[in-house]
């Protein structure tokens, strides 16, 4: 993976083609280098799965995409817009919090530990951002919430609080909550890792449905079966770098790098 900062900026992205472009993305927490130069591209409608050992920087990279983490070096574009900065006359200007918030509306994120708002019902969780951020009226938002709950198979749970739902149900509500903002891109940060094994399937089923509807998705996961069947591309990360990328079936069946082989032999 050769990286250099002198590389010319990529051509402006044709709309509808590249959704996410990462160029030499680096991130450190103090002295700890977590990302050491990530280059990749995700096309609109693509489902990219990112796999790799823990500590390899998968989640950090995902969090950089919606600017929950600030990139230290390199560039990240989402739908042709630079993440977190504005480039003008060769200078970078940090975006204001309100501008960052505006960009995040278009990027849905699903967390490992669901992070539902415990003081709100399932419908309340889903309505929160549309009503508070987009200013959509409550009746309309409520109708949409019920629609989305039906889509994730929880039509009867609108008035349940998160503590009354199983992990799988909570994660499905979390997916519905992210969808309520009509995102162009969905980020999944190990969405099934905190679930009991028998609950994993219901969440993956919802994600498969999303992929079939053409949603652009980046999925950090340990579910190799999902990656193989639903993913359009598979990226193997280790130690802050993309070690290997390609079509999931090829990478899983015929890994080229030693590290990929070693990792897959442990998880498959």
């Amino acid at each position: 993976m050769t990286t250099n900062l002198d590389k010319p900026a990529p051509r402006p992205t044709e709309p509808g083609r590249v959704m996410v472009r990462a160029q030499d993305v680096c991130k450190s927490f103090g002295p700890l280098e977590v990302l050491k130069g990530i280059d990749l591209e995700v096309a609109t409608g693509e489902v990219m799965c990112i796999v790799g050992p823990s500590g390899s920087g998968k989640s950090t990279f995902l969090r950089c995409i919606n600017h929950l983490e600030k990139v230290n070096a390199g560039r990240l574009w989402v739908d042709g817009h630079l993440v977190g900065y504005r480039e003008k006359d060769g200078k970078l200007y940090e975006l204001k919090d309100s501008e960052v918030a505006l960009k995040r509306r278009d990027i849905g994120m699903v967390f490992q530990r669901f992070n539902l708002f415990p003081h709100m019902t399932a419908a309340g969780n889903i309505m929160e951002a549309p009503t508070q951020v987009k200013g959509i009226g409550k009746p309309e938002a409520r109708a949409r919430a019920h629609e989305l709950l039906a889509r994730v198979g929880l039509a009867d749970k609108a008035d349940a609080y998160p503590s009354q739902l199983s992990g799988g149900q909570q994660q499905r509500v979390a997916i519905a909550r992210a969808l309520a903002m009509d995102p162009k891109l969905m980020l999944f940060d190990e969405p099934t890792s905190a679930l009991d094994p028998e609950l994993v399937g219901e969440v993956l089923e919802v994600m498969r449905g999303l992929a079939e509807d053409g949603m652009t998705m980046i999925v950090v996961t340990h579910e190799m079966g999902f990656a193989r069947e639903v993913g359009d591309s598979l990226v193997f990360m280790d130690d802050g770098l993309v070690v290997e990328a390609g079509h999931p079936r090829e990478v899983l069946a015929n890994p080229q790098h030693e590290r990929t082989k070693a990792f897959l032999s442990k998880v498959l």
Binding site: R113, N115, F117, E128, A129
Partner: protein
């Protein structure tokens, strides 16, 4: 292979003999109880034979002046607590903000007002006229009345304590909540108001109740700036009739009454906020008393 003896479907419930064991004798408890009862008896005897005119205490319990003082105690406590709450939330948010100036100012505020006695602070407010003869174009003593001095002294002091309570409440909310809200495009202010503070309340409410009950008692210090709360009123009366102890006990009665009423209120408030977060609600006071009285044999209570 032997099949385990399966009970027949129509098995009659066997009447089992309950264990009848001789309980461990708690001699130590009996000794301690006798010693403590003896000491309490001595104390009661001392006060009963002391030169206290209990009838005077009784006469003044519901005296107009004393009742007015109790009303003022409640008023200054509520008002100072309100000031403390507002300042506390403000200082906590300032302290947690990314702005180094606001967070330093908040830290210094908390440091100073928690680090000096509230009595000293009250006296400083009460004597402000010595260094600022006029304020807002008026005589300072007309602006800083005893009520104002007590309100500022108690309220600003309380704000420093409340700031720490609110801060710990805000910090108790999982960071994932803030991240989830931000990921949905919610601004910082909206995230705080809609997501973080409602969840922080569970942690903030119980110690705030404690603070208020403390405030009911701490407000007695306002007598140092001659605010006519119940202690000050009692003092006023006993400087005339010299029944010092009698009136101090009358004041105690009102403090106990107020703290007891608000403690019961606080208890049920805490129970309410514990819902959903703890599986078993804490026992009510009556249940606790019963459990203590019958502590030697508690059916159904497992001890580890």
């Amino acid at each position: 292979m032997t099949t385990p003896a399966t009970p027949p479907a129509d098995k009659q419930p066997v009447k089992r003999e309950p264990i009848k064991a001789i309980p461990v004798p708690h001699y130590g408890r009996w000794v301690a109880a006798v010693v403590v009862l003896a000491l309490v008896g001595l104390l009661i005897n001392a006060f009963a034979s002391a030169k206290i005119h209990w009838d005077v205490t009784g006469d003044y319990l519901f005296d107009d002046q004393i009742m007015k003082g109790a009303g003022n105690t409640l008023l200054i406590s509520l008002a100072a607590m309100a000031v403390g709450l507002v300042l506390g939330v403000l200082a906590a948010i300032m302290r947690l903000s990314g702005n180094p100036v606001t967070s330093t100012v908040a830290s210094v505020y908390i440091w100073f007002f928690r680090g000096t006695p509230v009595l000293v602070q009250l006296l400083i407010w009460g004597n402000l006229a010595l260094v600022f003869p006029t304020m807002f174009g008026q005589n300072t003593n007309d602006v800083i009345t005893p009520f104002m001095a007590a309100l500022l002294g108690l309220g600003i002091n309380e704000g420093a304590y409340m700031a720490e309570i609110v801060r710990s409440g805000i910090q108790s909310v999982d960071e994932g909540q803030t991240e989830a809200a931000h990921a949905l495009g919610m601004s910082k202010g909206r995230t705080l108001r809609r997501i973080v503070l409602p969840q922080a309340m569970r942690v903030i409410v119980p110690p705030t109740g404690n603070e208020f009950i403390n405030m009911l008692k701490t407000s007695s210090l306002a007598s140092a700036v001659v605010y006519p709360e119940v202690l000050q009123k009692a003092k006023d009366v006993y400087t005339h009739n010299l029944a010092v102890m009698e009136l101090l006990f009358a004041a105690c009665f009102w403090y106990l009454l107020l703290t007891t009423v608000f403690s019961i209120g606080q208890y049920y408030l805490e129970r309410y906020f514990a819902r959903g977060s703890s599986r078993a609600l804490p026992p009510t006071p009556l249940q606790r008393i019963m459990a203590n009285v019958f502590s030697t044999r508690r059916p159904g209570v497992k001890t580890r």
